[in-house]
Structures are given as structure tokens and as C-alpha cells.
């Protein structure tokens, strides 16, 4: 986490005006968007970049030698450099473009896993994982005859690391865990876990879908081997994300998808591979969305990740305080001071879908369900929760509206 103090006060009300979607109404009321953990809204500059790309330089990268293809290639590769700086990678060669976090983790599970996980090996996950960090490992474990262990959570939604060294015993090849829970808002001590995993001879893969947008991440500080995140959860378009991997791993890994651009030489019976990271980028990539993601990264950098972390944390803390004042509301996860910008809660006797429908009629968009974390909800003993999550365009007044909406839901279901 880049814990630099914000140097100036950020005008978040002005930031909200950069997002055209807030100019419309939902059920006749101003749209209050509290589902940024699912996907964020897009500022005007991202939409304009997309539009400008298709109007002026649309072409295929790394192939054409004409002017617009050179320009598109340059802009596409420049985003790789921006991402490398964002996560403090040693080089842009350590950044592979993917469709998002899910594809990044699948890339690791398949390309690295198929070569390095064998019968009797162990994959260590946690009880708070999103399905995207469970299912790819279950598939490879099944294929390779490996087993899965999980780090449990405690009563406050933190990882219980008291048994970690025991869990790391034996043939644990990789630990894959979320940096920031998409349900509980818990921020996990990844650097400490990495240290202990490496000591036990295991690699570490981090699901950073929430932490890169919300906290800012330093891969050298975490010392993780792989780190996966998505562009659309940080103001970029859907369909673009990245995998950071230590270069030595990328060099040693076989390709994930085969096709054009990822090769060096192809004969009818065999092929050799392009340099990293292009070895992992088969076919025509998502050029326009990548370049527009670059515009999102510039926009976020101008705000500053320290200011973003402080802002979303403050909104989450305000939400937790507001909900604590409503009888019958249970808030999940650790205390506010340890919480990222995500708050999941449940109301006694009112299903999450019903809470979300009442809020929807107030113009408030929240997520209701198991948030792609069914095992975690089973552990929490609740079928579904309602989740409010925050980003740069949210304001304290959004939290006040949420509180009022939750009180209204209670009234409707009391009669």
C-alpha cells in the first residue's frame, strides 16, 4: 500500500460531475451507485478515448507498419508501462494483458499450474475467496490429482493465520488469496503470508481485483509471484485486465492460449514462442479498451491512490456507523478501521433481494446475493447479503440515502 498522505484536498463532488451516467435518473431519482466492487462507472475522458481510438487510429497492433498502426501499437504498449509503474513492477515485461482478474488467474492456474502442480501436491486458498480464485484451482487440482486446503477466517472476517505454518506443511506449491475481500472488505496481510509461503517453498498468487483500485499495490513490497486485477473495477472499460508475474515465472511458463502474435516461428508441426509478455497475448487483443484503460489510470493517478483509499475508507466507516444504529442489521467483516470501501450487511427477516429492490426504488444501486463467494456465505451462515461499495464518485450524502433506504425497507416489511 502506497501510504503517502494526500497532499491536497480532493473535490470529490467535482469528480462526480466527470461521470455522465450520473446525469440520468433511476426510478425518477438521482442515481446513487453503490456497486463499484462489481464494476465502476466510467469518466468522460475514458469514453472519449474509446471514441477517439475508433475514429482516428483503429488498426491492428504489432503487425501493420503504417502510421495509424504504429500509433495504436505505441499507445497500447504505453499502457503496459503505466501498469508496471502502478504496481511497481521491475519492468513492463512483467505485465500481461488479459480480459480481467478471472482470466489472469486462469492463466496462472493453467500455464503455470499444468507444469508445476502434480499428483499429491497442495494448493492453498482461503475461505473468503471469490469464485474466480476458487474454480480455476479446483479445475487444475482435479486434472492434476492435487488437493486444495483453505486458510479459515475468524469470527470477525479476518484470516486466521494461527495455523498457517501447519497448512503450509507438505507439498504446497502455491498459495492463492485475495488481497481485499469483495464481501467483507477485509484487507489481508499479503506480505506476511508471502514471506511464510516462500519459506515453505510455495509461490503466491494475489487476487488484487479490489486492492489495486482501492489501495494501490506495490508488488515488490508484497513480493508476490503473481498478481491479478481488472480494468473495469477502476474506471476502465470491461474486458481488459492484467496479470503481473515475476519475469522468471513468465519465461518458464508454457503459453496459455495459442494463436497469432504469441509465436516466434511456426511450422506445420511445431512452433516457438514470442518473448514475454507477448507469448501470453494470442490473437488480436482488446486494443481500444486497453488504451481507454490507460486514460482511466491517468485520471486515477491525478486524484492519487492515497486520497482514494482514504475517501472510500471514510465512506465505509460512515456506512458501518449508520447501519449500527438500525436495530436488526448485522454488518459483516472486521471493525471499520480495518475495512476497505466495501460493506456487506443483512437485515433480520428481510432477504437481501428485497432490501435491494426497496433501495432500487430510491435510486440506489447495491448488490444483493452471495457476490460470487458462496463458500464464504456458507461460513457466515447467511444465504445472501446486501453490499454497498464505494469509489471516487461517491459522497457522504450517498451513505445518508442508503441509511434512509434501509430504514424504509424495515418499515415496508414490518406492516
Amino acid at each position: 500500500m502506497k501510504a503517502l498522505a494526500p497532499e491536497r484536498r480532493v473535490d470529490f463532488a467535482a469528480i462526480r460531475r466527470d461521470f455522465p451516467i450520473f446525469e440520468q435518473k433511476a426510478h425518477g431519482k438521482p442515481l446513487i451507485y453503490l456497486d463499484s466492487t462489481a464494476t465502476t462507472q466510467k469518466p468522460r475522458v475514458v469514453l472519449e478515448t474509446l471514441d477517439r481510438y475508433y475514429r482516428t487510429i483503429n488498426s491492428n497492433i504489432h503487425r501493420g507498419v503504417y502510421a495509424i498502426a504504429e500509433e495504436a501499437t505505441g499507445q497500447y504498449e504505453a499502457v503496459r508501462g503505466k501498469i508496471a509503474r502502478l504496481v511497481n513492477a521491475r519492468s513492463a515485461h512483467e505485465i500481461v494483458f488479459t480480459r480481467g482478474t478471472t482470466e489472469s488467474i486462469n492463466l496462472v492456474a493453467n500455464a503455470w499450474g499444468r507444469k508445476n502442480i502434480g499428483a499429491g501436491d497442495v494448493i492453498l486458498l482461503t475461505e473468503m475467496e471469490h469464485h474466480s480464485n476458487l474454480v480455476p484451482w479446483q479445475l487444475i487440482a482435479e486434472e492434476r490429482g492435487a488437493t486444495i486446503r483453505t486458510i479459515p477466517i475468524d469470527g470477525q472476517g479476518r484470516l486466521d493465520l494461527s495455523g498457517l505454518d501447519r497448512l503450509l506443511e507438505g507439498r504446497v506449491r502455491i498459495v492463492s488469496l485475495t488481497h481485499m475481500s469483495n464481501v467483507l472488505g477485509t484487507i489481508n496481510p499479503v506480505a506476511e503470508i508471502t514471506r511464510r509461503a516462500h519459506r515453505a517453498g510455495a509461490l503466491v498468487c494475489v487476487d488484487a481485483a479490489q486492492s489495486v483500485p482501492h489501495l494501490g499495490v506495490d508488488v515488490r513490497e508484497l513480493d508476490c509471484d503473481f498478481l491479478a486485477f481488472s480494468g473495469h473495477k477502476m474506471l476502465g472499460p470491461t474486458g481488459i485486465g492484467a496479470l503481473y508475474a515475476k519475469r522468471a515465472h513468465l519465461e518458464a511458463m508454457p503459453p496459455f492460449l495459442g494463436g497469432g502474435e504469441m509465436i516466434r516461428q511456426v511450422t506445420l508441426t511445431g512452433s516457438s514462442w514470442n518473448d514475454v509478455p507477448w507469448k501470453f497475448e494470442a490473437g488480436t487483443m482488446n486494443i481500444a479498451d486497453t488504451i481507454a484503460f490507460g486514460a482511466a489510470l491517468d485520471y486515477l493517478e491525478a486524484i492519487g491512490y492515497a486520497a482514494i483509499a482514504e475517501h472510500t475508507h471514510a465512506l465505509a466507516a460512515r456506512t458501518m456507523a449508520a447501519l449500527a444504529g438500525i436495530p436488526g442489521v448485522v454488518v459483516y467483516g472486521p471493525p471499520a478501521e480495518e475495512h476497505g470501501g466495501i460493506v456487506s450487511f443483512a437485515l433480520e427477516d428481510i432477504h437481501a433481494h428485497d432490501v435491494a429492490t426497496v433501495l432500487d426504488h430510491e435510486g440506489i444501486a447495491v448488490r444483493a446475493g452471495h457476490h460470487c463467494a458462496m463458500p464464504l456465505h456458507e461460513k457466515l451462515g447467511v444465504a445472501a447479503t446486501t453490499r454497498a461499495s464505494f469509489y471516487v464518485y461517491n459522497l457522504p450524502s450517498d451513505v445518508d440515502a442508503l441509511e434512509e433506504g434501509v430504514r424504509k425497507a424495515k418499515q415496508i416489511f414490518r406492516r
Binding site: 432477504h351 437481501a352 433481494h353 428485497d354 426497496v358 446475493g369 415496508i412
Partner: protein, 133 residues
């Protein structure tokens, strides 16, 4: 549609006081299903005598729409022949609820009907009314 229309008194009544709630001992037909979207679960048990639904019970967890739809559906099929139950469509369920639903909440409303049909036919059917989409 206003919120009051959405949460009509009858829906809230069926949600808070579900009819035919529970399970049957030694049911002739039993079926369980869940909605992967939200984790809702339902089980429907039927006692069938001479081709008619003699008794029906449902249980599980779900939102107001899914539970109210199940409650109304069980009321509707009590005493009906299995052939009549097979004729119940998604529109019948939506008429019972009397509200408009988007594609996401539609799955809440139709979970009970889907489960019932799976129990009766004994195999997984397509979503009720899917052929119309």
C-alpha cells in the same frame, strides 16, 4: 411501478405467512432446487392420490418474491390433477403475483414453478416459458 405496488399486501402476506409451509413424510414426489444468483433454496413435496395433488408443502429460504410465488403456487395446485399442474405456465405465476419483474427477479418468481415441474417430470426442464424468449 411504485414500491407499494411492487410489495403488494398479498405478496407480503404470503411472504410473512407462507401457505403449505413445511415438508411431508414419505412424499410421492419431492424436488429441490436453488437459484445460483442469490443462493435461494426451495424444496417442494407432493402427496399424489389417484392422479391428484392431495397435499403439498414447500420449504427453503428465499426473498419475498420467491417465497410468495411458491406459497401462491402451492395453493393453486392443491386438489389439481397432475395433468392440470403440468399446464401451469410462467404467466400464470406472474398473474398470481400481479407485478412486473425484470429478467433478474423473474428467476426468483419462477424458482418454485421450475422446481415443481422438475419434480413432476422427474427431469430438468428448461426454464418455464423459456421457449417464449
Amino acid at each position: 411501478m411504485s414500491l407499494d405496488d411492487f410489495y403488494r399486501q398479498t405478496i407480503l402476506d404470503h411472504y410473512q405467512n407462507p401457505r403449505n409451509w413445511g415438508t411431508l413424510e414419505e412424499p410421492d414426489i419431492t424436488a429441490q432446487d436453488s437459484n445460483p444468483l442469490c443462493g435461494d433454496e426451495i424444496r417442494i413435496d407432493l402427496k399424489v392420490k389417484e392422479g391428484r395433488v392431495e397435499a403439498v408443502r414447500f420449504s427453503g429460504k428465499g426473498c419475498s418474491i420467491s417465497r410468495a410465488a411458491a406459497s401462491m403456487l402451492t395453493e393453486a395446485i392443491e386438489g389439481k390433477t397432475i395433468e392440470e399442474v403440468k399446464q401451469i405456465t410462467r404467466d400464470d405465476v406472474l398473474d398470481m403475483l400481479g407485478i412486473e419483474l425484470g429478467p433478474v427477479r423473474l428467476k426468483c418468481a419462477l424458482l418454485a414453478l421450475k422446481t415443481l415441474k422438475v419434480g413432476i417430470y422427474g427431469v430438468q426442464q428448461s426454464w418455464p416459458g423459456e421457449e417464449e424468449e
